[in-house]
Amino acid sequence: MTYAFDPELVDSISAFPTDIMQNYQATRDKFYQLNLARNQRLGSAGVEISERTIPGPENSPDLKLRIYTPEGLTNPAPGLLCLHGGGFVLGDLEFEHGSYLKLCRELRIVVVAVDYRLAPESPYPAALNDCFAALTWVNSNANELKIDPERLGTYGQSAGSCIATALALMSRDEGGPSIVFQYLGIPVFDDRMQTDSMKRFVDTPLWDKTGTSMAWDFYLGDAYKRGADDVPYLAAPARVESVAGLPPTYISTMEFDPLRDEGVLFALRLMQAGVPVELHCYPGTFHGSFMVAKAEISKREAEEILVVIRRGLHCD
């Protein structure tokens, strides 16, 4: 299918990897090496980076966090729990390190990145439980981390935003720390895969219908079958009966992303339930196209990320 991509993105498409889920271990290794090299070039001016190992959920291994604190921070600042993307299967602490550095530096907030367990080795609910353990730990240790617990938000791209949404639902329904704002970038919400964009965008760059189905199969593991009636809403938030009471939310979607419609639909449900929500559909884009940093549309998105999080976390 031909897509009306933004002209500034077109030339970069061939550089994007294909079939990232098909050989996920190789993809994991490749991404790790590339990101590590890039991260070393970035340095850490203005940010103190530390790593902590905290107790994992019950009967689960310990969990690693990477904490980014602005240099010279004296008064408690807003905090942002960051869950990387990667289709539940890929990604690690190096994956979005550059973004987290920037958020910490530009907004003067404390960023906490979670090294959650990946599928298929650890299917649902491992990642969710890891992230919930991280959320509770951050909330309990807010003082030490110099985080204002009233201004603790979450941030996720792609699969990370699925888990972030589930965290908010878990906090609402099972009792958990209050989340002041959630940034849900290019979210994955629905294992049923019945939206119009999901059916049509079978061959879009980086992420397509095949990638989505593999991600869900890996994430749900043996316990659940993709599309079946009993898939829990904490795995696939689109299935939740009511979105009322969720925190103020920002959702970004890309025009030629199979995930586009489920993001838009979830935003609409939030609006109808009276949850403050901002929705942006970026034209001419595809899943992950923000990695083409030099394109004007990507620059606009990068700027908007800062603006909406600054507002959502009530930064000084």
């Binding site: 070393q40 070039r41 970035l42 340095g43 850490s44 001016a45 203005g46 010279g72």
Partner: protein, 253 residues
């Protein structure tokens, strides 16, 4: 007769700070100033300030680290005005404050590219043009006291500014008999956007600066402009290859 009457002088980084103050001073002393800046508007505000005071100026957008852009601008000036009599290569960036273990290689590259390679490009293109002119010309580069001594958290900035001093001394020797003089001004702590960028983030820095300067205060952009103009003018005719600190005594002891 103004100190730089009828001279055509290029000022890079002319949209703000030391560049803006120098452009305004030069214009008030009779020069036609070509203002260049990375900002989209290329220093249009500076141009307006000059025009409304009865002076003569034009503004261009310029990325000093782009050799081709620099070469094209110099050629354009020569074509329009017949000669380039002076150039104040002043555009620069501060980079992040970070000890070397925290400095990213990307940060290093960017500061060196703009502050050092940008000066190289400017001086090279200007000298090549001035060689075609019987009257030669005068080039002034903005280094810094950081081009003479070290400063915590500024590896890339200081390296670039030391490098500017190096370029200046060498090129001064190369063309001394060709009526082309090359000098640097080395501002100390000067009240410009580059400094307020630091003191806004850490207000205690402002007092630190004041307390470490023998004169007990920061410099004003206009005080740097005075020195730059003198070096650009014929009044400094026997001066070449110097690195002149304008720093309230900071590097004297």
């Amino acid at each position: 007769m103004g100190m730089v009457q009828n001279k055509t002088i290029l000022v890079t980084g002319g949209a703000s700070g030391v560049g803006q103050a120098t452009a305004i001073l030069l214009a008030s002393e009779g020069a036609h100033v070509v203002i260049a800046d990375l900002a989209d508007h290329g220093g249009a505000e500076t141009m307006k300030l000059i025009s409304s005071a009865g002076g003569s100026a034009e503004a261009h957008q310029l990325d000093v680290s782009d050799y081709d852009q620099m070469r094209d601008l110099i050629a354009q000036i020569a074509k329009l005005h017949g000669s380039l009599d002076g150039a104040f290569n002043n555009a620069g960036v501060a980079g992040p404050v970070a000890r070397i273990s925290k400095l990213g290689t990307d940060d290093w590259d960017q500061v060196i590219r703009v502050n050092l390679t940008g000066i190289f490009a400017g001086v090279k293109c200007e000298v090549e043009q001035m060689l075609l002119q019987e009257t030669g010309g005068s080039i002034v580069n903005t280094a810094s006291t950081c081009g003479l001594v070290g400063m915590y958290g500024q590896t890339a900035y200081n390296a670039s500014k030391h490098g500017v001093v190096g370029i200046t001394r060498t090129v001064a020797l190369e063309y001394a008999k060709k009526n082309i003089r090359v000098n640097t001004v080395c501002p100390g702590f000067t009240e410009t956007p580059m400094l307020t960028m630091r003191t806004d983030v850490d207000p205690s820095l402002s007092d630190y600066f004041d307390n470490h300067v023998p004169m007990g205060r920061k410099g004003q952009a206009s005080e740097i402009a005075e020195a730059a103009m003198w070096l650009l003018s014929d009044r400094s005719s026997y001066v070449t290859g110097v690195a002149l600190p304008i720093d309230g005594g900071y590097t004297a002891g």
